[in-house]
């Protein structure tokens, strides 16, 4: 039992709206950009501007949600911002980074037959990826996990890293096109994404409907304004996870499914035309 008997300036990190830069975030962003551009230079390949834009966008979003004020607010003050950061890392940063990697670069980073390739191949099989993603989703949103890990800086970083890595693993089979790397196609892809969107409703519903604050971290944090209610914050976090997370996924599912349906329709039309031509011939 950790309690405080003396109200002091030391116990709480009093929130101020004074900009506090996190140098590490900018160093990490620079390292990721350097990694991408350096790999192209070493391979003697030209940088595809379309893919570079995606990589830069992914890194930029990651930096924005990790930098002040969102990083600090999400790590220790507001559950809504914490969930917003989770959504950003999982549903924005991970797919942007993953879709920015050309096949030749993926082959370089995960060479066929290497241990990394084997591990990635196993982790990104769709049933395993689904399991990993949801285990991280549920595990890192349990009150005991938040109240144990996020009270330490390294723990907070570990949670962020787990969200990003689980996002990369989960999007891998749905986004990559390489069949030899376990890429899945419609309608399995739609089912795969839909299953996760449904499972996401579970923690989101707990957040939205719990009458008491679930996380001591956010409940006992210095309030940003007087009259701040951690239950309202938590409800908003649940709605955010449901609406924004669900909406993002269902948009991807709908777009993918419509593309697949159009391709199927075109293929069917082509087949009928070919059959008609051969019958006429």
């Amino acid at each position: 039992m950790n309690v405080a008997w003396w109200c002091s300036s030391n116990p709480g990190q009093v929130w101020t709206w004074r900009y506090t830069p996190f140098v590490g975030v900018w160093l990490a962003a620079a390292a990721l950009l350097g990694l991408y551009l350096g790999a192209h230079r070493r391979a003697g390949r030209p940088v595809d501007p379309r893919l570079l834009r995606r990589w830069v966008a992914g890194v930029a979003v990651m930096a924005v949600v990790s930098e002040w004020p969102l990083g600090a607010l999400g790590a220790g003050y507001l559950a809504t911002v914490g969930i917003g950061r989770y959504i950003a890392l999982t549903f924005v940063v991970a797919p942007l980074l993953l879709s920015a990697i050309p096949t030749w670069l993926l082959d370089r980073w995960l060479p066929h037959g290497s241990a990394r390739w084997t591990a990635t191949r196993w982790l990104t099989r769709w049933p395993v990826a689904l399991l990993v993603f949801n285990a991280v989703l549920f595990g890192t949103h349990l009150p005991v996990a938040i109240d144990t890990l996020k009270v330490y800086q390294v723990g907070s970083f570990a949670v962020d890293a787990a969200h990003l890595l689980a996002g990369l693993v989960w999007w891998f089979p749905a986004m990559r096109r390489e069949a030899d790397r376990g890429a899945i196609r419609e309608p399995l892809r739609a089912f795969y994404l839909f299953a996760s969107s449904i499972l996401m409703f579970v923690p989101a519903t707990f957040l939205a409907f719990s009458p008491l604050p679930l996380y001591g971290l956010y409940e006992l944090a210095p309030p940003l304004w007087l009259g701040f209610d951690p239950v309202r914050d938590q409800q908003l976090a649940g709605v955010l996870m449901n609406v924004v997370g669900g909406l993002a996924l269902w948009t991807v599912i709908a777009i993918g499914f419509m593309r697949w349906a159009r391709a199927e329709e075109r293929a069917d039309l082509e087949a009928r035309r070919a059959a008609g031509r051969s019958a006429a011939g």
Binding site: M1, N2, V3, A4, W5, W6, C7, S8, S9, N10, P11, G12, Q13, V14, W15, T16, R18, F22, V23, G24, V25, L27, A28, A30, A31, L35, G38, R42, S66, W68, G71, A72, G74, A75, G76, D147, K150, V151, Y152, Q153, V154, S156, F157, A158, L212, P213, Y215, G216, L217, E219, L220, A221, P222, P223, L226, G227, F228, D229, P230, V231
Partner: protein, 219 residues
């Protein structure tokens, strides 16, 4: 050569990750460390029992409407939760009061069943209007009291608690931060101090304890 390049890249990433971890934003404060809340004792209470006998102090303070208010006589006859704090307090005071107000509402406990009393330890800044405005953020039925610092210190002394200490400038630029006891003290209808709730008490702890206060401590 190529191996060296890969190792260098990996090292760079590790360093970057560690720097990010080092500069990460989670509060390393006792506010956060208190996140586990209190533990329920065998008797079902979350509030911690007092081992020494203490009573409501026999000091006279002033209500925000200017009426003299002697703690031991005015509060006799029903359970009381007493808290010493100040309206500029950035963390513990508003969190405590918000938790109590919300738990009172959730358990449908009336303020005439359990009186919630806030005594300012910052008479220089806490005018009656300011105390009222502060308490209105939680519940305007809470009783706000103030007095000259020696009177407040006398009340704290009678409860075996240390007096307030100026601890330095508030990072929000709102004057000084003041150190003061962080526990809420619970008194029964006869004015005896029965239990305390230090900071770290969660709303769920209050929801469990408030019905017991009404049931066991009322006259």
């Amino acid at each position: 050569m190529r191996r060296t390049g890969r190792t260098g890249r990996a090292a760079l990433l590790v360093v970057a990750a560690l720097v990010v971890a080092g500069c990460s934003t989670a509060p390393s404060s006792s506010t956060a460390l208190s996140a586990q809340g209190l533990t329920q004792a065998d008797d079902g209470w979350y509030g911690l029992p007092l081992t020494v006998e203490r009573s409501l102090p026999d000091v006279t303070l002033t209500t925000t409407s200017g009426r003299p208010f002697r703690l031991d006589t005015e509060l006799a006859g029903g359970p009381t939760l007493l808290f010493f704090g100040y309206s500029s307090c950035p963390d513990i005071c508003p969190v405590h009061l918000a938790s109590i107000a919300s738990a009172m509402e959730q358990t449908r406990t009336r303020y005439d069943q359990v009186r919630v009393v806030f005594v300012s330890v910052d008479p220089a800044r806490d005018t009656p209007e300011r105390i009222d405005t502060f308490l209105d953020h939680f519940d305007d039925r809470m009783i706000g009291l103030h007095a000259a610092l020696p009177v407040v210190e006398e009340a704290l002394t009678q409860l075996d608690l240390p007096g307030p200490i100026v601890e330095g400038p508030d990072p929000r630029g709102e004057g000084d931060l003041i150190g003061h006891p962080a526990q809420v003290i619970g008194f029964d209808a006869e004015g005896r101090a029965r239990r305390v709730w230090p900071f770290g008490t969660r709303r769920s702890d209050w929801v469990a304890d408030l019905p017991r206060i009404v049931a066991d401590w009322s006259a």
